[in-house]
Amino acid sequence: MKNVLGALLGAAALLSSAPSLAETTLTIATVNNGDMIRMQGLTSEFTAKNPDIVVKWVTLEENVLRQRVTTDIATKGGQFDVLTIGTYEVPIWAKKNWLVPLDNLGADYDVADLLPKIRDAVSVSGKLYAAPFYGESSMTMYRTDLFQKAGLTMPDKPTWDFVISAAKKLTDKEAGVYGICLRGKAGWGENMALLTAMANSYGARWFDEKWEPQFDKPEWKKTLATYVDLMKEAGPPGASSNGFNENLALFNAGKCAMWIDATVAASFVTNPKDSRVADKVGFALAPNTGLGKNANWLWAWNLAIPAGSKKVEAAEKFIAWATSKDYTKLVASKEGWANVPPGTRTSLYENPNYLKVAPFAKPTLASIDAADPNKPTVQPVPYVGVQYAAIPEFQGIGTAVGQQFSAALSGSTSVDAALAAAQSSTEREMKRAGYIK
């Protein structure tokens, strides 16, 4: 009797566990950006086509996510099956063999349709290690009404000289309108993204060909001095604590005549639900100094599979779905063309439906095309990356330098002292890491 009961219980257990044996659960780590939240909302469309896959999301703030997934991938913790990572991580992690090359995204994936600059940024030795979900550069956003009132015309490719003189002319501190809003908050992805891109346009570079830091060179002094003077004269008060979101709020409230920042901001500032100046915004490339490089960066959020994952096949299916042309069409059909993830595929910028609703599409594409992560500066450099150097040490170094530059902006240190401190701290870290002796 006992045996029969045992056999029955065993059979029941087997039967009840049978469906779950066939199911693959994918844990996907991502950031809390609008396009990612939209992707989460559309997960059911993917699982309807792949009933054997269950998708679970872990959404975290960017810096928390970066620390979380870096710890997990470095220790082979195996907590995630798909990671959302930036263009900074892709080459570093691919070289450490932490990522699975994406060779099997399907015949209809159309890799050739990916924007060449973005594809380069997520490939190592010609192999794709992450699939871009959305891409961005930076550009100049400006108030057409204020420019018209002041009798100014923004060129398509403005120079820093023009931007500086226009910013000074458009500043009306009594009315609470500032000529220009730029990032000042310290951080390698905050003020240093802007300042590194700006330095590129002034002919500066982080390191020379022998990895020697270059903050003691005149190009960096010109960059930082111009930035600090401009912000003191034509920037909003307390700019040293302003990042993307703070400047977005200022611009949307009508407090900035110009704002140079991520191209994704374009959809926020032209959305009447979020912005008081939605119908008064124009776009131009990021400024230059005539040396051949604009002050614009290149970034993409990408989906990748950690090496050692036991669910590679299901993860590849998901990545192929989320970064495909069909996904773009799906978002367009559900939420309109203005809400599709931008900056990854050439076909999107040839689509008349998208071009009609996105006045920022062309300047965005031009900005992405103008950035070259393999040749980011006027002079040669040993690193890859436009607004960063893709080496593991950069996060720490970049943030330390960012703090010095933010202090120069707030006035608690001078431009010269900030540059000297940046030079010595970077030298120390590069020596410690073995790049220089």
Partner: protein, 276 residues
């Protein structure tokens, strides 16, 4: 005349206390108000205090996107579990240090406190590897253990201070009446130290509830508490203050209610010994 002066002093100190209380409470009030604003109003310059378009859409969005109950239950288990286990270990430890000190007791106490001076990120990788090998990643057990270990020095220190205030003679009298160590701890020491125990329990519950480093780094989905729930609403690119405020209000609500109801014990415990 003297009475008037006293009344005036009482009035001034009352107003001062209310003002200080309001200032301390203001960030929480601001967060609650922001949770009822639209994203655009949350960022408005100058900010609007009460006269804005009140909306509950942020709470609806948060409910739709996240499983609040799952995260809240995890927080209750992790904070409650780690505090109770810490108390079970700390009561005998503090008893022995307070009533049977050796010449090394002070060193042990200081050593325990010194473990709190190390930044947790310094041991993140070793702990992560150990947790991975023992299958404790993303498990409630793993988080209860790490938070218990993290808070143990504070629990022992607090209890040690409270126990030291209790006259040794009472315990000796109990011993003379034939009480065993266990009975002495349960029937004599614990009832006398209840205000101290209550405040230690509450303070550690709050510390464990708010702990964000380990809970964010060692949990993924199953064991994720409210700290992970909040972290999912912050964004470097986009307007999120109103939704983040709604998520934060929901996250602090249970502990705020608990603190409100137990404030008498908390105050009594924290001032325990001061009036002796």
């Amino acid at each position: 005349m003297a009475r008037m002066a006293t009344n005036r002093r009482v009035a001034i100190s009352t107003v001062g206390a209310w003002l200080a209380g309001f200032l301390i409470f203001f960030p929480i009030l601001w967060m609650v108000l922001t949770s009822f604003k639209t994203e655009l109003e949350a960022f408005a310059i100058p900010p609007s205090f009460l006269f804005f378009h009140w909306t509950t859409e942020n709470y609806a969005t948060v409910q739709e996107r996240s499983d609040y109950i799952h995260h809240a239950l995890n927080s209750i288990i992790i904070a409650g579990g780690s505090t109770l286990i810490a108390l079970l270990i700390a009561i005998p430890a503090a008893w022995s240090m307070a009533f049977s000190p050796t010449k090394r007791t002070k060193d042990v106490l200081l050593w325990m406190l010194s473990t709190k001076m190390m930044p947790p990120v310094g041991v993140l990788v070793p702990i992560y590897l150990i947790w991975r090998d023992f299958g404790l990643l993303d498990s409630l057990t793993g988080l209860v253990i790490i938070l218990c270990l993290g808070n143990l020095p504070i629990v022992i220190w607090m209890l040690f201070t409270y126990f030291k205030e209790i006259p040794k003679d009472i315990l000796e009298a109990a011993r003379m009446d034939g009480a065993t160590i266990g009975r002495e701890l349960i029937y004599v020491l614990t009832p006398m130290a209840i205000p101290g125990l209550a405040s230690t329990l509450l303070l550690n519950l709050i510390l464990a509830w708010n702990e964000a480093f380990w809970t964010l780094n060692l949990s993924t989905l199953n064991a994720a508490p409210l700290t992970v729930f909040i972290a999912s609403y912050s964004s470097p690119e986009g307007l999120f203050w109103a939704k983040l405020s709604a998520a934060s209000t929901l996250a602090i609500a249970p502990i705020l209610v608990l603190g409100w109801f137990s404030q008498r014990q908390l105050v009594r415990g924290l001032t325990f010994g001061a009036v002796k």
